[in-house]
């Protein structure tokens, strides 16, 4: 096992223990739900980073096609979807206890939902094409196209939106020094690294499985031809 996997385990254990037991400021309405900062927000961070990795691999695929890069892009996208769905679920749960509703119309919520739709469409596209090379190329093109259409949605539209219920709003969806207690930072930043590493780990395992499957299929093909 590589060192960063131990790091991921340590950081996530720390996040879970310090995140659930540690000190958080007493705030009205939010109360203990602000501990969601250690779970919900880092999942979106991790999703963005891993979807970014997926796009980078798609670009690399178009420059220099190989089945390996296609698998990397595909598995990263799947992990990104997993983290995104978890982010949606933790956010929805949090919203139930602070806003009193599971879902509401909001720029950030819409952006998140549409991003998930884009990547589900990516999976549908992969399922619709039978030829392997064609599938790899088409899905790489769609991945890059959809990612560049989703960036304005996730990062620019919330900033120009006039109103949002989501924390960290009012011109800037990031957390300013006024929002974030310094004791919470001590857990928040390790949590970001921990969840991202976990995403990378999941992707790595999934990729290895896909590589092995591909190898077996090519071996079987050779056998049938012989």
């Amino acid at each position: 096992m590589k060192w960063w996997k131990y790091l991921a385990i340590v950081l996530l254990l720390y996040t879970a223990i310090a995140g659930l037991l540690g000190h958080v400021p007493r705030l009205a309405i939010l109360n203990e739900t602000e501990r969601n900062l250690y779970f919900h927000v880092p999942m979106w961070f991790g999703m963005t980073i891993i979807l970014g990795a997926s796009v980078v691999n798609s670009v690399r695929y178009l420059r220099n096609p190989s089945p390996r890069l296609d698998i990397l892009a595909h598995e990263s996208a799947k992990t990104g979807i997993l983290l995104g769905v978890l982010g949606l679920m933790t956010g929805s749960l949090w919203a139930r206890y602070t806003w009193g509703t599971w879902w509401t119309t909001d720029v950030k919520l819409n952006g998140a939902a549409v991003t998930m739709l884009i990547y589900l469409a990516y999976l549908v596209l992969r399922g619709a094409v039978a030829d392997e090379q064609q599938r790899a190329r088409l899905s790489a093109i769609y991945n890059i196209f959809a990612f560049s259409a989703a960036i304005p949605l996730l990062f620019i539209m919330p900033r120009i939106a006039s109103a949002s219920l989501h924390p960290g709003m009012g011109g800037n969806p990031g957390f300013s020094k006024y929002d974030l207690d310094s004791a919470m930072r001590l857990v928040f930043y390790p949590a970001v690294i921990g969840w991202t590493l976990l995403g990378v780990w999941i992707t790595e395992v999934a990729c290895r499985l896909a590589f092995v499957k591909e190898k077996i299929y090519t071996k079987l093909d050779e056998k049938q031809l012989a």
């Binding site: 178009l62 093109i141 560049s148 259409a149 620019i156």
Partner: protein, 225 residues
């Protein structure tokens, strides 16, 4: 040949082809007119025009599906042999830009008569017509630029997905565009001052540039297959 000249030639070719097969254009126009008429009949059950937000949303939904129908034909109807011929005579960059412009023109030709019929049948709650018309024009361009490359991908993906694949791939990409468009046209509907919609219009134009630039960069890879 320079790029603009090539685009111009390809655009003329597309327009000429469209004009020779007027049934296709007529079919799309009839589709828009039919949908508007169905809306008119449905709302007349409740006694007249729908409320202003519903009026606006319904118009964009009609336009969205017209755009999906129109974009589905552009790149899909060309045979493999014809594509190979284009490949030898034209640059892929010219092909995609010409297609985007052509789709935008086609959508304008669908949207403006559609809007006219829509206001005739379902009432006219718009207070700022120049802005509303401008938002419809911008909408046609935005829908065309976002859908052209996606239609190319869906056409290459083959018959497995059929018509649904274009909708599945296109809708998520179109949502940000549509949200901005509905916001601008809602402002025009309420007669709000230009300052209220300025930032949305600028974002929309910027988004169009991004999408067109990405299409320009990616289309050669799509074409090579």
């Amino acid at each position: 040949m320079s790029l603009p000249a090539e685009i111009w030639l390809l655009l003329l070719k597309d327009l000429r082809l469209e004009w020779r097969q007027r049934t296709a254009l007529g079919g799309l126009l009839l589709y828009v007119a039919g949908t508007v008429y169905v809306c008119y009949l449905s709302f007349s059950l409740r006694g007249g025009a729908p409320p202003a937000p519903a009026w606006n949303a319904l118009f964009w939904v009609i336009l969205l599906f017209a755009a999906l129908g129109a974009a589905g034909r552009g790149l899909a109807q060309e045979s493999a042999g014809l594509r190979l011929y284009y490949y030898t005579v034209a640059r892929p960059e010219a092909v995609i830009l010409a297609k985007i412009i052509y789709n935008a023109l086609l959508l304008l030709a669908l949207a403006l008569p559609g809007l006219l019929l829509y206001t005739l049948l379902l009432g006219n709650p718009v207070q700022d017509w120049p802005l509303y018309a401008a938002s419809v024009g911008l909408g046609a361009i935005s829908l065309a630029s976002s859908l052209t490359l996606v239609a190319g991908i869906a056409a290459r993906a083959g018959q497995a997905g059929g018509g649904t694949l274009l909708a599945v791939l296109g809708l998520p990409v179109l949502v940000p565009v549509l949200l901005l468009l509905v916001k601008v046209s809602k402002n025009a509907l309420d007669g709000l001052p230009w300052e209220a919609s300025q930032s949305s219009v600028i974002t929309l134009v910027a988004l169009n540039f991004i999408v067109a630039a990405v299409s320009y960069l990616l289309f050669p890879f799509l074409w090579r297959s």
